[in-house]
C-alpha cells in the first residue's frame, strides 16, 4: 500500500517535472530580460522599475 502510493507519487512527479521546469525557465527568462537587458530603450522604459527592485542596472 505504502509502496504503491510512493510509486504513484514518483510517477506524478516525473510527468509534472518537465512542464514545471519549462514554467520556471519561462519565468527566469522574463525576469532576466526585463531586469537585465542592456538595450538603452529597454533600460529607459524600465528605469524606475529596475531601481525600485534593486536590480544592478547602471
Amino acid at each position: 500500500m505504502t509502496a504503491s502510493t510512493t510509486l504513484g507519487a514518483a510517477e506524478s512527479v516525473r510527468s509534472r517535472l518537465f512542464p514545471l521546469l519549462l514554467a520556471g525557465l519561462l519565468g527566469t527568462f522574463i525576469v532576466g530580460f526585463v531586469g537585465f537587458a542592456q538595450s538603452d530603450v529597454l533600460h529607459n522604459a524600465g528605469h524606475d522599475y529596475r531601481h525600485s527592485m534593486a536590480f544592478p542596472c547602471h
Partner: protein, 246 residues
C-alpha cells in the same frame, strides 16, 4: 501540457495582481525618491561646469553611462505606465518561478503557506542580494555592471538553494550546508565601487533602501498569498492533490 497551461494561468493572474499593487506602492514610496535623486544627479553635472557633450564623461565617472539620445518615456503618466508594465510582466515572471518551485515541493495550498513562500522569495530576490548590493539611486557610484550582475545572480541562486536545503533536506547536514550556501556569497563579498562619493544625500539613500526593501516584501507576500488562494482553482490541472508543505 495542461500542467504548464495551469501554471501559466495561475502565475499570470497572481502576477498581474501583485504587479499592479507594486506599481501603486512604488508610485508613493520609491519613485518620488528616485526623482529627487535625479535632481542631485543633474545638479552634480551642472556644478562641474561641463557642457552637455562632456556630461558623458561625468556620467561615466558616476557609473552612469547611457546614450542620452535613446528614447525614454516622458515624465509623468507615460513613465508610470512603463513602470507598471515592467511590474506586471516581471510579476508574472516571478509568479512562474514561484509556482514552478512550489509545485515541485507539493504546491501552495493556502494563503498562509503562500505568505511563507512569499517571504522565501523576498529573502532570495531582495534581502540576500540587497545585503551586498543595496538598492541604488540614480547618480550613485557603483562597481562594474557585469561583476555586480554576476554576483547578484550567484547570490540569488545560492540563497534559493540554501533555503531549499534547509526546508526540504532530509539530513541535518543538508541544513548546515544550506546555511553555509546562504552565507557564502557574502563571505566572497559583492563588487564595490572605487569610491562611495556621491551628491545624493545619505538620508535620501537610507530612505530609499528601506522603501525598496519593504515594497518588495509586500510584493512577495501578496504574490505568494495570491498563488495560495488561486491555486485551489487550478490544483486539479496542476496534477497535484492538496498536500502539505513538505
Amino acid at each position: 501540457m495542461s500542467v504548464l497551461r495551469n501554471a501559466v494561468f495561475l502565475a499570470a493572474i497572481a502576477g498581474l495582481f501583485a504587479g499592479i499593487a507594486m506599481t501603486g506602492l512604488q508610485t508613493f514610496f520609491t519613485v518620488p525618491l528616485i526623482l529627487e535623486a535625479e535632481t542631485y544627479e543633474a545638479g552634480a553635472n551642472a556644478a562641474h561646469g561641463h557642457a552637455h557633450e562632456h556630461g558623458h564623461e561625468d556620467a561615466a565617472a558616476s557609473g552612469h553611462h547611457h546614450n542620452e539620445d535613446a528614447w525614454a518615456p516622458a515624465d509623468g503618466a507615460e513613465r508610470t505606465i512603463y513602470t507598471a508594465l515592467a511590474n506586471v510582466v516581471t510579476g508574472v515572471g516571478f509568479g512562474l518561478l514561484l509556482v514552478a518551485v512550489s509545485e515541485l515541493a507539493g504546491g501552495i495550498s493556502s494563503w498562509r503557506q503562500g505568505l511563507v513562500w512569499g517571504f522565501a522569495g523576498f529573502a532570495v530576490f531582495t534581502l540576500a542580494p540587497g545585503l551586498g548590493l543595496p538598492p541604488e539611486l540614480p547618480g550613485m557610484p557603483a562597481a562594474d555592471l557585469l561583476a555586480r550582475q554576476t554576483w547578484w545572480i550567484a547570490t540569488v541562486c545560492a540563497t534559493a538553494g540554501g533555503l531549499a536545503l534547509i526546508a526540504f533536506g532530509r539530513q541535518p547536514l543538508l541544513a548546515v550546508l544550506g546555511v553555509a550556501l546562504i552565507i557564502a556569497p557574502h563571505f566572497v563579498g559583492a563588487p564595490q565601487p572605487a569610491t562611495h562619493d556621491t551628491a545624493v544625500p545619505a538620508e535620501l539613500h537610507h530612505s530609499f533602501v528601506v522603501a525598496v526593501t519593504l515594497t518588495n516584501l509586500v510584493f512577495w507576500v501578496l504574490l505568494g498569498a495570491a498563488v495560495g488562494i488561486l491555486r485551489t482553482r487550478f490544483a486539479e490541472g496542476l496534477g497535484a492533490a492538496r498536500s502539505s508543505f513538505a
